[in-house]
């Protein structure tokens, strides 16, 4: 069954290639039925999911971790690096929800993209994206993981700038790619450092774990930080988050896929994967937690003033990712992954619901131009309500349990500042999510420009499934306190739960607090957005609306100076120093060439003459010699 690991990855890749070729054929030769794209696109994640399920059941029945190494990939001097896949509990867990949620998003996307000309292209990318993510997750070593890591980056770039006719979208894609490159740079440094020390023994997680001691401690800090920079890039943490809102330029299923199942969770997964490393350097962990907390709060604040429905959701993702990093940083990897799991459901639902709204309003994204959608798309309304409740942390929806656990971890770790920020963020989360919800679904109808239509069942069906997931996923991690077993916690016990030493009273208290906090947020939103007026905007709100001018600051402090510097260099140094040198050389050669080129005058008669002269000279010489 080990080779199932390879199959899980290969199937999306093969289907992607197939769709791609079919798409090329349809463009170059003649249009073909869309079923040629749809069927492989939908079946690939499904098959992967089933395979994952088989593996999961195997693990569940107590099998060993699956390791599958089909062939040697690199043979560098003395180091041999295998193409290897690792199927332990963590990765199979990831595989399961990635493929499942991904599959739902695929189904949704078939309806969402049905009028698009690049239907086949889209699904080729989509499957490739999924495959890359699976490669990232199932890799048995950092190098293989890095392939998936970069593949994910590439596909995000392709998909974000999917509507490449508009330069804005292309810029967004570029931005995502470049910001990710910065993160990847850190990631690569970390990998390289690790490689330097661990490669002699082998370069897969197990070996690294075994030989982590060979890295000196100070360097270990550096490695941890460097890897975290990579995670920052992928998972959109301060300061490398800027690409995330812009990534909304892609089609909505792309956003859903990026935010729910694939890309952004890569950072969390990576940190969890290197838990053995981070456990050695708890200070870095705390740093990560602070970054996470800051991101959570920061994003939540920004989200309160956004008007683009997808951007709100994007910031909420960033905020939730902040929660996850809080957990990760504090060592509660299973908690973080639990939140990843629940988040996958309700965030996918949110995006797809938002997508449904957008579609029904003919691609209107401004929430203030929506309103009253309840009557039009009642089912979407219900699903969105459930998702919103879930993200706001209202019991018994999924978000409540995972978030509660994170808060518990934060409280228990003693970092009360982080805890406080997290709670504040929770208020804001409930606030901005319900703000969105009320504005979009309740309130005045603001769509006289459009004639809203209800979306098809192909779009709705995944919503329903996900809504059920948002409702029920939390119970998989139902804490012991509430009589649950915390199945996920147990499953991922290896990635430890540290919060067991908090007393039940405290837990109850925190639980209550959480509910209260959510209610406050919801209440605020309800009060404010019954009659909302955009014109009353304070300075602070303006700042918030403009996302704290972070983009502008980036532009001012990094982009512009660099651009000016390069311009200066291109004008002065390049022309006057480098060019002069090169030109002097070339001028010299040209001069010499010109002198020599006199004989190369393209005059065949001249060549013939010279040839004859040569022959004649030889003859003259012969006559001279022979006498």
């Amino acid at each position: 069954m080990n080779f199932f690991l390879a199959l899980i990855i290969l199937i999306p890749f093969i289907s992607s290639m197939f769709i791609g070729i079919a798409y090329m054929y349809s463009i170059v030769k003649s249009p073909i039925s869309r079923l040629w794209f749809t069927i492989p696109a939908l079946s690939a994640p499904m098959v992967s999911f089933i395979l994952g399920l088989v593996l999961f059941l195997g693990l569940h029945n107590g099998a060993e971790d699956y390791v599958y190494r089909p062939y040697m990939w690199l043979s560098l001097d003395t180091y041999d690096i295998y193409m290897g896949f690792l199927g332990d509990k963590l990765s199979i867990f990831m595989v399961l929800f990635i493929t499942f949620v991904g599959w739902l998003i695929h189904i949704y996307a078939t309806a969402y993209m049905k009028d698009d000309e690049g239907y086949g292209k889209f699904f080729a990318y989509f499957n490739l994206f999924l495959g890359s993510m699976l490669l990232l997750v199932l890799a048995d070593g950092p190098l293989i993981m890095f392939i998936g890591w970069e593949g994910v980056g590439l596909c995000s770039y392709l998909l974000i700038s999917y509507y490449f006719e508009d330069p804005l979208n292309v810029n967004a894609g570029n931005k995502a790619f470049i910001v990710n490159r910065i993160g990847d740079f850190g990631f690569l440094i970390g990998l390289a450092l690790m490689f330097f020390y661990c490669a002699p023994y082998g370069y897969d997680y197990i070996t690294i774990q075994a030989h982590i001691d060979s890295i000196p401690l100070p360097l270990l800090y550096l490695v941890g930080l460097a890897l975290f920079i990579g995670a920052m890039g992928k998972s959109a943490q301060i300061p490398l988050y800027v690409w995330l809102p812009d990534a909304m330029a892609g089609p909505t299923p792309v956003s859903a896929l990026i935010h729910a199942a694939t890309m952004v969770t890569a950072g969390v997964y990576m940190v969890a994967r290197f838990h053995f490393l981070y456990e050695l350097i708890p200070a870095v962990g705390v740093f990560i937690a602070y970054i996470g907390a800051a991101s959570a709060l920061f994003a939540a604040i920004i989200a309160t003033k956004q008007s683009d429905i997808k951007k709100i959701l994007a910031y909420s993702t960033m905020s939730q990712l902040g929660y996850m990093f809080i957990a990760v940083g504090l060592g509660a990897y299973s908690t973080a992954l639990f939140h990843v799991f629940t988040h996958a459901f309700f965030k996918a639902l949110l995006f797809m619901g938002a997508g449904a709204v957008i579609v029904s309003l003919h691609h209107e994204q401004n929430i203030f131009k929506m309103g009253g959608m309840r009557q039009i798309t009642p089912l979407v309304y219900i699903c969105m309500l459930m998702a919103t409740l879930a993200i706001s942390g209202v019991p018994p929806f999924a978000g409540f349990f995972s978030k509660d656990e994170i808060l518990l971890e934060a409280f228990a770790s003693g970092e009360y500042l982080i805890w406080a920020i997290a709670v504040l963020s929770a208020v804001l989360t409930a606030y901005y999510m319900f703000r969105l919800f009320f504005v979009v679904f309740e309130g005045q109808k603001y769509h006289h420009e459009h004639h809203p239509i209800d979306v098809t069942w192909v779009m709705k069906a995944p919503l329903v499934v996900l809504a059920l997931g948002s409702l029920g996923a939390g119970f998989l991690g139902l804490p012991v306190l509430l009589g649950g077993h915390n199945l996920i916690g147990e499953w991922l016990a290896q990635w430890g739960v540290r919060a067991s030493h908090v007393s039940h009273e405290t837990e109850w208290m925190l639980l209550g607090l959480n509910i209260t906090v959510s209610m406050i947020g919801i209440g605020l939103a309800y009060r404010k957005f019954k009659n909302y007026d955009l014109s009353k905007e304070t300075l602070l709100e303006g700042v918030v609306y403009h996302k704290f001018y972070i983009d502008e600051m980036y532009d001012k402090f990094f982009v512009q100076p660099l651009r000016r510097l390069s311009e200066r260099i291109s004008v002065s140094v390049d022309v006057e120093v480098v060019n002069a040198f090169v030109m002097a050389l070339s001028y010299g050669f040209v001069r010499i060439g010109k002198v020599i080129a006199v004989v190369q005058n393209a005059n065949v008669r001249f060549y013939a003459f010279v040839m004859i002269l040569g022959a004649s000279s030889i003859c003259a010489y012969l006559i001279f010699i022979l006498g």
């Binding site: 003459f609 004859i612 002269l613 022959a615 004649s616 000279s617 003859c619 003259a620 012969l622 006559i623």
Partner: protein, 165 residues
């Protein structure tokens, strides 16, 4: 015999010199005809009667005719002829340059056994013997030549057609 040989050689060489020196291509071509016909005479003198006819029919009758035809067809004006101010000097220099070459070859040839070449008796050089030889021993080259001619024909047609557009 010797007299005829000398006269024909003189005409051949005179024609060749005229061809090289003439400014107008038509004059060159006409001088070349002189050479060709004189050479045909030399062939006849060497009792190669078929080659004599072929030389006249193919060279004088077809090739040079075609040549003059093209020259007239293009009808190049005096002003459009290439300017060759140093023509005579280069020709002279060329001859000087070629002298050693010729000298060496002739020196080598001088030691070949010398024998007068005369009109052969008993049918040597007749068309029949040439034909028998050609179609018995040289059939393949003959066919190859025919293919070559065909290729040249097609090539000429392809080159010469009107430019489209």
């Amino acid at each position: 015999m010797d007299m005829i040989f000398l006269i024909l050689s003189f005409f051949a060489i005179a024609g060749a010199v005229g061809m090289v020196l003439a400014h107008q291509p038509v004059h060159s071509a006409l001088s070349l005809i002189l050479t060709i016909i004189a050479l045909a005479g030399l062939f006849a003198l060497l009792s190669a009667s078929f080659l004599f006819m072929v030389q006249i029919i193919v060279y004088a009758g077809a090739v040079i005719t075609l040549f003059i035809f093209i020259i007239m067809f293009l009808n190049v004006k005096e002003a459009n002829l290439p300017k060759e101010p140093n023509k005579n000097i280069t020709i002279f220099l060329g001859f000087i340059g070629l002298l050693p070459l010729n000298f060496l070859i002739l020196k080598a040839l001088y030691h070949m056994p010398s024998k007068a070449l005369v009109l052969s008796q008993n049918g040597f050089g007749e068309i029949k013997s040439l034909g028998m030889e050609l179609f018995e021993k040289w059939l393949l080259p003959f066919e190859l030549i025919s293919i070559l001619l065909l290729v040249a024909l097609i090539g000429a047609v392809v080159f010469g057609r009107k430019e489209e557009g």
